[in-house]
Symmetry: D2
Subunit: 336 residues, 4 copies
């Protein structure tokens, strides 16, 4: 038994990682890859890594053709462009995991404010499962559309939500200082990502303005108390990996040990969450779907640390995990 | 006119950078380099970069010989070992810049608590100039002993002290999230700094326990109000550079623009401080004595960003700047 | 059905890669990992990457215990130490893949000259299968002991042997200029592999003296004509990957196109050899068991280029491929 | 006394390095920087490294204006475009160092064959000094136009020319296998130089077709015997540095020791050539104008190794060295 799969927007890094996972997946049959590029290049011309592993030519995006030929579509299109294709596909009963931000935020106004475009499918917002199985598994199982989480939000939400929920930390004055490898910036050549510009250098970007801030805040808001999240992403000279260093205020006498205990209990049976006894490093999660979590004390703050691979658990691994749940396959298939 | 100079502990990275600066300095005559290694190796065996630029053999450390033959000593020895040699040198009238932490803290108890050793020269503590000319130039000019600042403290103190002093930000709940290149860890081979272990990976270390925290806090404490500093250093896969992302609480209605204005005014005539209109990156200060500063707004916080080269302004460049002031040379000599 | 497996010398990079492959292998049951370290550390303390994927404590090496409890042993021990353990294991009927050089050379004198030790098991030399299935598959299938090839030799032998055999290039005056990532140097911290020493730098090493030279030459010697191989390895600032640029003299009118045709024909049905139409780069084979080959013309020479991942096809992937053949499993299991 | 200097094409990496050297030069007055970009950006917008060190706006290229206002022009323009501007400048008596290849080859036909354009100033070819002072100092002193050498050719010519000249090695069957950092590819963003594409990867490029091959061969051709040079450049994941590994055939009984002796004698009084007793690494010449040379034996070949910084001795350092000689300043000014 296999599911017929198409990938929209197959030339980037998340698509490449997705394909590397899917070619190993016993229930995945890749039937189409789309691109805006002309000329139907072979996938190995775009991704030399896939030569000998996948024999397919890319094709121009045609939503009707996809609806006729695929049971499941992964959309790696940019926001706005994605919803335009996802809407008709879902309307026609095709299951979709959307990598873009189009269905992540529950509130249309917030979306339109941060992304600066009108949403083409506003009625679905608020009813789409957010693709973090560790928190929203019930909604994902059997769903027709899943919004694949942002890479930074995954790194922040996974450790912080249980701590807020269990009253360990306050949801206000949370500072998320994140560091990411350069694949997070995509595959389009631009001066800031030209090798000698970002090699041997580190910088912050999007301070106070990054679109992942409201995505994180949305899930920390509980019990009618609005969360306040300060989010600062940084560009680190490495290919992949995210480390988030989160500074939270403990409620009452809660300690780092209390926080660790809550995380251990919440995630005891999760196959991809590792609550570890030392400071995490991205090396240990590289090329895997794992998230490593740790909490330490520093002065009056709890320092919550989180590591993941931005292309796997931060994108394509999460997508496959969601695919498995949506289609009724074992959740860890192709991911361990 | 030249000053006869010795360098104690000449095999590490800060000593190498120091020597690269001093061989260009028109008033520096390097007369001795010391090491614990046996056999009087030529400096070019230890530092191949210096072949053809410095012709000297390293020698065993002998404080009396140094006092007889050098007018000025840079100590690149580790803490505790450093004070043991610096004390007799200063007693005999030799001028010293101490790279170690031994004379940075003004309070003996704080020193002994954080460094876990008794101080051999406790009476001098509190009377030694801290080697940040931009803040303590008056004390440094003509001084006999200067404590060269820590690399992380320099990156935090330079932007934060004026902001606290001018009432822009509170001295409590200051979070300093710093990222450093690997030369900051020294030159002794250890597994965490073995190339494949730290390449392509990022991690935090010393969370809540790093010795630079009290050094930063010491200078933010003003008007009888104790500062509270949360300090988290990170190891970044690059050779050199520090970026500090500092989260501060504005007092009253103060904005990022107010903070920028204060920094611009305070540092208007400083040759090595650049208050810049965009987010700084370590690339722009690499191999220089410059510090790039910027303040941005993020939610209810001011985000104060600071970049420097940990081996230059964070160590050897600052030391030469101090040397220039202590000896009456033009402050920028060999540094521009 | 599963084979009970032990790994001797499990703390290095090749052992880590081996274990990452074996935990995915449907017919591998890992029963023991050995180390010289004291205290039976959990494998996740040594290799944090394996937390949650393998639950085993390392144990002291005891050959008799291994012979009683394992059907198959991978030896990641250094040369000389390896043969001492491999000999009694093979004598007792345990199947072994030896990562060390101990059984690679067919001639005892050559071994003792290049490795400077007496061989403890000289009678087996010359009768042990060399673990390159693409050339020696018949000897490997069902074998009791296989010598896993060196990483550099694999990159050179795979493209050069067919070209010599089919009369395209001469076996003399072959120059192999190889470039390797730093994991090839092992996991023991030493100054040349300290991050700031090898980052942002490239160098040659072992010029004219590297032990992989006779291993390459051994297989290029055919039809009574001794091969002459000049081999120069280089250390490149990256974790993994080998590129070998080989300069060969064409025989007669043979061109690069002729060479490409021979490689394509010889390797047409090989699952892990890709003869490609452009210049290879190590990126495309990273984390895979593939080898990418290409031949170009440059003046009067043929330039034969070869890329592989030194830890996979250059070590642990090849070992699993050999394991599959020795035990009768599908050759590509756990490798695609 | 200072020379009024303009830089044509000031936005790239070689221009940046040139400016970093010139702002330190006591006899350099930078009067103009040109660019094709619109809007007269400040140099610190293009090169943030130069903020506080150089206060100048870029301007549109106007050859007449330059001839009126500058005594010396460095051309960092691409080939063909460069000669078009250099010709009228030299005709009007302005001294020029041309970074492009336009005046490096002595033969018009060779130029037009390899560069695919007609030469606008063919009569000067063959009469322009090639900017390697260690070999052509006499022609450079006082010259009006100097062709700055290519980075790869410098690394190959400096060690090989004396060895051919003194009969140590043959000029035919010379193989130059070169490895370069990514700044060598320029500053224009393109996919192959996008950080995640070239980080952690190595590849050859331009095999058999790189334009530096005839530039090297031109200087190895002596005594009516045409040189044969096989040249293969590689892209290495680092910012700067070139290592050339050259394989040469010794004439008669000549050994590596003989070759070392010739190099030591030829370059005994050269300030920037270091003939060293161990294998060179690019780290030791980084950010300097030095070239490190060594010769080793490997089988029947001599392996000639050469390291330099492609942006300094391979481009801008050499240009300043030529500037010093052309203008009568001390040759090492601003370079040690």
């Amino acid at each position: 038994m296999a599911t017929r799969i198409a990938v929209m927007g197959a030339t980037g890094y998340t698509a490449l990682e997705l394909l590397k996972l899917l070619v190993r997946h016993p229930h995945a049959e890749i039937v189409a890859l789309t691109t805006r590029q002309e000329g139907r290049p072979h996938v190995s011309e775009v991704h030399p890594e896939l030569r000998g592993r996948l024999d397919l030519h890319l094709q121009t995006l045609d939503v009707n053709w996809l609806a006729d030929n695929a049971e499941f579509v992964f959309s790696c299109l940019p926001h706005a462009a994605s919803a335009e294709c996802v809407k008709p596909l879902v309307d026609r009963g095709v299951k979709v995991v959307d990598f873009s931000a189009d269905y992540r935020l529950q509130d249309v106004e917030t979306y339109e404010k941060w992304y600066g475009v009108n949403h083409v499918d506003p009625d679905r917002l608020g009813n789409v499962a957010y693709g973090l199985p560790e928190i929203f598994r019930q909604q994902i199982v059997g769903a027709g559309l899943v919004a694949n989480p942002g890479c930074y939000p995954t790194s922040a939400i996974l450790p912080l939500v249980p701590l807020v929920k269990h009253g360990i930390i306050a949801a206000k004055d949370v500072i998320v200082d994140s560091k990411s490898g350069v694949t997070g910036a995509g595959r389009t050549p631009k001066l800031p990502f030209h090798y000698p510009e970002c090699n041997e250098s580190i910088k912050a970007y999007g301070v106070g303005t990054h679109r992942h801030a409201p995505e994180i805040a949305q899930f920390l808001t509980m019990r009618d108390l609005a969360a306040e999240v300060i989010f600062t992403p940084h560009l680190v000279p490495m290919n992949r990996g995210i480390l988030s260093t989160c500074y939270a205020t403990p409620i009452g006498e809660n300690t780092a040990a209390d926080a660790m205990q809550v995380l251990e209990q919440c995630y005891a049976s999760e196959p991809f969450i590792r609550v570890i006894g030392q400071l995490p490093e991205t090396r240990a999660v590289r090329n895997t779907n794992f998230v490593d979590l740790h909490v330490a004390q520093s002065g009056e703050r709890l320092v919550v640390l989180s590591c993941l691979d931005n292309l796997i658990k931060g994108a394509s691994g999460a997508a496959v995990q969601n695919f498995n749940l949506m289609c009724g396959y074992e959740e860890t298939t192709a991911l361990l």
